[in-house]
Amino acid sequence: MTVQADGKLSRRDFLRTAGTGVSVITVASLLAEPVEANEAPATSPWGVLIDLTRCTGCESCVLACKESNNLANPEIVATSLDSDAYSCLETHSLGNGAVSYVKRQCMHCLHPACASACTVGALTKTAAGPVVYDSAKCIGCRYCQYACPFGVPAFEWENPLGLISKCQFCQTQLGQGQTPACAAACPNGALRFGRREELLAQAKAQIETNPGRYVDHIYGEYEAGGTSMLYLAGVPFVDLGFPELGSEPIPHQAETVMNQTPAIALTVASLASALAWFLQRRKKLALVPVETEESR
């Protein structure tokens, strides 16, 4: 009988094994504790204020982006983000013949869902502002594409060993005290590089002094918990294809659950161990009197 064979696993053996499992999980959970490392940086992160009312669609920024990042097809100005285009220029008709141009690129969220979701931590938020990508870690799982609320990360579909590509806020230039390529290239002052807090203050002042020019909304101030890229526009953002997002950081809910992982593991392991021991013992004890009764 298997039951009896099972019974040969002595309580001490069993407790030892279960105890080892539980302590391994406890140690792992202690190691896993210091996950909340994303504290606010001492200085405000870098940002870019993109004033769409000043954009003439001259394409300088997108071309400078291609050149600065050594991207393929440097002469083609993309109309949507892809693996050859970290930034693109969209044209939105506003009716009555008017158009508005929208330069798009990574928003460099303050709480980036891509970085939270990335299996291998290839995407990280730096204190200076950029959300950077380490292609050496990436396994190409493409979860970031689902987590990003702006549809930014692009995959190299034509590459048999495909990776992700996205705007990195010219982090090398940033480290050398230089302006990102797009902002440096803009001839119309539509892209203003600076500290996010200062840009926000300037944007608010601009809206106040030019009430007819702008809608009263700085896109990126609160969206998805705030972004480093901030937009001003003359028409509602929803008409320009911007997603309507709440102010809760996207990764918040998943992280709340993920932080419970050690607790869940510990609970299930101890509950299952206790149940297994108790029920096995009950069965073993139940076997004895039944047998003696029958033999009598």
Binding site: G21, V120, K137, I139, F155, W157, A272, A276, L279
Partner: protein, 388 residues
């Protein structure tokens, strides 16, 4: 060894049986799948899939999530027999463990095809992101696959008659089962957590903070259902009788899990004020009614009626509906209930995606069949050997 010869004789006498035909078909599908898979690895995702930046997870990932739920057969049966010590379910344990092992092997193969850099699959072990649901899922799948291998080794050892090693593995059974239950609870629920990072994409009828719990419970109803099928099919293959009380009990367990799942899901929709959307009967609400009404509530009610549950036709209808419901649920969450960014082209799976998926499924079905034939899947023999 006598069984083996008997089996061999039976196979020979029925060469052109439906079994032989279906085995040949499975073999053909496997070969086509290998060929298509090699094409995918050589040519890349762009040339061999219909995936795009907006729909970058297709049927490979959807089937992965379906298979993980189905392969929950392994951990649910291990929990029932080794944690809860319910001996009447013991006959269904081994076919379920073997099916679980094949399920997870298929998942790993599909993942290799889906990854942009399959050559670097091991990176998740080197670079940890503790916030990432996919990191946790990857770790758990790897560890749990190892658990399933350890749980399956005795099936071979018993066939070989290495009783000393059989005994050693036997002593490990309970702790290993507890480890497997823990790992499964983690990653089955984390598959739900995975979608919590997509509030902007996933329809509100599906997106809820309790997704982890819903995924966990649905893996139990899927696991018990698949365990029943694995048990019945392996018994048919080996020409054995199934124990009615085993199938009955499992059907009852699956029914209660499905009922609990339905009530939890409805309660959640009520709590989040989604009833208007649920009864709007637009395309999203229809999808949900298909998976929830037809795939969980109806089979739960069917299987809770003893007269239905005890008849093979009623039982298999209920179990089949549950499995279809899980299939629909995982596909809805991954594809149909998602809104990709504007401008995303529609996704119609490429032929290579279908061939590889079917090939992997067929290959695993063949491997499971071979396992049932060659390993000790029905325990009565072993127990006699152990006690003698």
């Amino acid at each position: 060894m006598t069984t083996l010869t008997a089996n061999r004789n039976r196979t020979r006498s029925t060469t052109l049986s439906p079994t032989a035909v279906s085995l040949s078909l499975l073999a053909l599908l496997t070969i086509a799948g290998i060929w298509a898979g090699l094409g995918r690895l050589l040519l890349g995702l762009g040339a061999t899939t219909a995936l795009s930046d907006g729909y970058s997870w297709g049927i490979w990932i959807a089937f992965d999530f379906v298979l993980i739920a189905f392969a929950g057969a392994g951990f649910t049966m291990a929990a029932v027999t080794h944690v809860l010590h319910l001996d009447q379910f013991r006959p269904a344990l081994r076919p379920a463990i073997l099916a679980g092992l094949m399920g997870y092997s298929a998942v790993l193969l599909l993942l290799v095809l889906d990854l942009g850099r399959p050559d670097r699959f091991y990176n998740f072990m080197l670079y940890w992101n503790l916030h990432s649901p996919l990191f946790e899922i990857s770790c758990c799948i790897l560890l749990y696959s190892t658990v399933l291998v350890i749980e399956s080794v005795p099936f071979l050892l018993e066939r070989l008659g290495w009783s000393k090693w059989v005994y050693r593995f036997h002593r490990l059974a309970v702790p290993i089962a507890i480890l497997g239950v823990t790992l499964s609870s983690l990653h089955q629920s984390t598959l739900g957590t995975l979608y919590l990072n997509m509030p902007h994409r996933l329809d509100a009828l599906w997106y809820t903070p309790i997704l982890p719990l819903l995924f966990f419970i649905s893996s139990i109803m899927a696991g018990l259902s698949l365990a029943m099928i694995a048990y019945a099919v392996s018994a048919r293959i080996l020409g054995r009788e199934t124990q009615p009380e085993t199938l009955n009990g499992l059907a009852r367990g699956a029914a209660w899990a499905a009922l609990g799942y339905t009530l939890l899901k409805l309660g959640d929709l009520w709590w989040r004020d989604q009833f208007p959307a649920l009864f709007s009967l637009d395309s999203m609400s229809q999808l949900l009614w298909l998976e929830l009404g037809l795939g969980a509530l109806l089979p739960a009610l069917l299987l809770l009626i003893p007269a239905v549950r005890c008849r093979p036709a009623g039982r298999w209808l209920g179990v089949g509906l549950i499995l279809c419901g899980i299939l629909a649920n995982r596909f809805n969450a991954t594809m149909f209930a998602q809104t990709p960014p504007p401008g995303t082209p529609a996704y119609t799976p490429h032929l290579v995606e279908w061939l590889t998926t079917l090939g992997i499924l067929a290959g695993m079905a063949l491997a499971w069949y071979a396992g049932v034939r060659l390993l000790v899947i029905f325990e009565e023999k072993t127990e006699r050997k152990l006690s003698s």
